[in-house]
């Protein structure tokens, strides 16, 4: 599809409402924000913002990271990679550099999916391009941060992530907002390409605020023996968030794992799903979610596995924990099979903290509050598999930190 055709399609979809989630009035948010100059190092980033970076799992020193990318509002202010075999730059720069990149744009996600995809195409403000070269295996993660510091801003990013054949790529992504921002809109397109025998792990922390509307659109195309692992953590309130990342396991034995940990508080409204389309023979997927809803939070937790090839296997596990009578959790697992040689399953459960668990812990000496906190922590504690050791520890640390803040 030519650029002209893409734009035409986007124009047609400009007002097309999304299938799920509240309709967001995009025009309330401005694209006319200030441009920020590039930094020589992450350290130059204003001190007042550093905590917001940390809260989203971003290490301002860049230590223990293979590279760092930082976008402030609509400007890319830092982008640097330390290791050979990895590429990291703004999508805009990557488009200028590589003609072939147009073969990856809007290939996993249709540009006319809804008004949000269309708006990103028509009014894009960068986003990141990350690529690991064939055979490259850097176990240290690349970090990418999309940061909002201005009121009423509309951040429209388009991210492209490519792991070439037999390469390994680990990414920590943090989306954060400065605490003084009252309202903003984040539209993020992320297209992932996992080539033959490659592996991507993608750990994303959302650290939004009560006035932020968020509509990410993500999809992954996974080839033969490719592995994609997503860990998603959301602990802070958000005005409204809807996303339904979809992994297309097109290759033989392709694998996709989604793990989502959500602590929904305040007036948060979330519609969060993960979908796997198993098209390659023997491909597998696992979708795990843990949702805690407190205060007036409303959460829809979706999972969807579509089996379209022989010997595929998919499992969904959704668990919800209710901490308030004013909160709401809808758990919606879906399975679709189109042939007989396959195995799809789901389990879903929503409940409250069991009194007998609290008493058991109290019988070991904890107060009621301590016991409750141990149970919540345990509930959200999903063992993350598939990450390199250091990254697994780091992720655990990020998880603990985000949990510290809410409890």
């Amino acid at each position: 599809m030519s650029k002209k055709e893409i734009i035409e399609q986007a124009e047609h979809a400009k007002t097309k409402k999304a299938a799920l989630g509240e309709d967001v009035d995009i025009e309330k948010y401005t694209t006319g924000t200030k441009n920020y100059d590039a930094l020589n190092s992450l350290d130059e980033f204003p001190e007042e913002y550093k905590q917001s970076l940390l809260d989203a799992g971003i290490e301002p020193s860049g230590k223990e990271r293979a590279g760092s990318f930082l976008q402030r509002d609509r400007s890319v202010v830092f982008s640097k990679v330390k290791y050979k075999g990895l590429e990291l730059m703004s999508t805009t720069d990557a488009m200028a550099k590589y003609d072939w990149l147009e073969d990856y744009l809007w290939k996993a996600i249709p540009v006319d999916m809804d008004k949000y995809t269309a708006n990103v195409e028509l009014d894009q403000s960068h986003g990141y391009f990350i690529r690991s070269e064939a055979g490259s295996k850097v176990t240290m993660p690349v970090q990418a941060c999309l940061f909002i510091t201005s009121d009423k801003v509309r951040q429209n990013v388009h991210n492209i992530i490519i792991a070439e054949e037999n390469s390994e790529l680990h990414i920590i992504t943090g989306c954060s907002v400065y605490h003084a921002v009252n309202s903003a809109l984040h539209l993020g397109i992320s297209e992932f390409y996992v080539k033959k025998g490659a592996k991507i792990t993608f750990t994303m922390i959302h650290n939004w605020g009560g006035g932020i509307e968020v509509r990410p659109r993500s999809a992954m195309v996974i080839e033969d023996d490719g592995v994609f692992i997503s860990n998603y953590i959301l602990m802070t309130p958000v005005k409204s968030l809807q996303m339904y990342p979809t992994a297309y396991c097109v290759g033989r034995n392709a694998r996709a794992t989604f793990q989502s940990i959500v602590y929904a508080s305040g007036d948060t409204k979330i519609d969060l799903g993960s979908r796997a389309v198993l098209q390659g023979e023997g491909s597998r997927s696992e979708i795990i979610s843990r949702v805690i809803a407190t205060d007036n939070a409303k959460v829809v937790a979706r999972g969807d596995v579509i089996g379209e090839a022989e010997n595929v296997k998919g499992h969904i596990e959704c668990r919800g924990l209710m901490l308030s009578d004013n909160a709401e959790v809808d758990s919606i697992p879906e399975l679709k099979a189109t042939l007989k040689e396959l195995d799809l399953s789901h389990e879903a459960a929503v409940g409250k903290i069991a009194e007998e668990e609290i008493q058991y812990l109290m019988a070991r000496g904890l107060s009621e509050e301590e016991a409750t906190s141990v149970i919540i922590r345990g509930f959200l504690n999903v063992d993350i598999t598939g990450l390199p050791d250091a990254l697994a520890k780091e992720t655990k640390k990020m998880f603990d930190m985000s949990l510290e803040k809410v409890m």
């Binding site: 007998e356 008493q359 000496g365 509930f379």
Partner: protein, 251 residues
């Protein structure tokens, strides 16, 4: 160490224990026999202060403190511990975490100390890393409970059916550790700790030496005596007959 006076306990509005008296001295281990449903577990839960077990009348004094209205964790702080018969599963909380909690430690690591304690009960590192009670076999539950008691090291320990479901290989091991936890290896005058053991079958008593035994019937202690005597009657004649032989007066 533990003094229970005229205790009446209700569970969900139903009276389970009536006017019960029991006195356990420092250094003593008592055994509680009784048929299913006679109120043995209810008594332990009431001593531990679980909120569903409502004390309607009477008092419980522990180490000189009236604990009748104290929350469970305060009683535990005073030195009380309990090994449960059917403990709940807690997802995401590992047995190793429970050991740390029982030891009163905040840290989350399953470190060498925890691993060493585990070894004493044939508990591997993999076992320590399993979610507590989730998919545990009957015998694994008992070992896990005794491990937590070992970690907590309470001065007064209550054991609810510590032998049910335990394989032959491990029962002796569990018996040894219980003896240690209750100071049974020390000279009688040196014993500081006390205990109360519920057992339906009396199997564990081959490995633990206790002092006194009680037979509980219908929410009351119906018979009390030296362990050997009471055990003999219970095993040979059954509970009701044992009470008759005791005189059936209650205590």
């Amino acid at each position: 160490m533990l003094e229970i006076k005229d205790l009446t306990v209700e569970v969900e509005g139903k009276e389970i224990i009536r006017d019960l008296n029991l006195n356990i001295e420092r250094g003593a281990v008592h055994v509680l026999f009784g048929p299913n449903g006679c109120g043995k577990t209810t008594l332990l839960m009431a001593i531990l202060g679980f909120p569903n077990y409502k004390v309607k009348k009477g008092s419980i004094t522990f180490r000189g403190v009236d604990i009748t209205d104290l929350p469970t964790n305060e009683r535990v702080k005073l030195g009380m511990g309990m090994s449960f018969q059917h403990p709940p599963e807690i997802r995401g909380v590992k047995l190793g975490d429970m050991v740390n909690i029982a030891r009163g430690r905040k840290e989350e690591k399953i470190d060498e100390d925890v691993i060493e304690l585990g070894k004493r009960l044939n508990i591997s590192v993999d076992f320590l890393n399993r979610d507590v009670n989730l998919g545990f076999s009957g015998g694994e539950v008992k070992r896990s409970e005794i491990l937590q008691m070992l970690a907590q090291s309470p001065e007064f320990i209550m054991l609810d059916e510590p032998d049910s479901g335990v394989d032959v290989e491990n029962i002796e091991l569990i018996g040894d550790i219980i003896n240690e936890l209750m100071d049974r290896n020390k000279m009688p005058s040196k014993r500081e700790r006390a205990g109360l053991i519920i057992t339906h079958l009396g199997f564990i008593l081959r490995y633990i030496n206790a002092d006194r035994a009680h037979v509980m019937l219908d929410g009351r202690i119906a018979c009390t005596g030296m362990l050997d005597e009471v055990t003999k009657h219970v095993m040979e004649e059954g509970f009701e007959r044992c009470v008759e032989l005791c005189g059936g007066k209650g205590v």
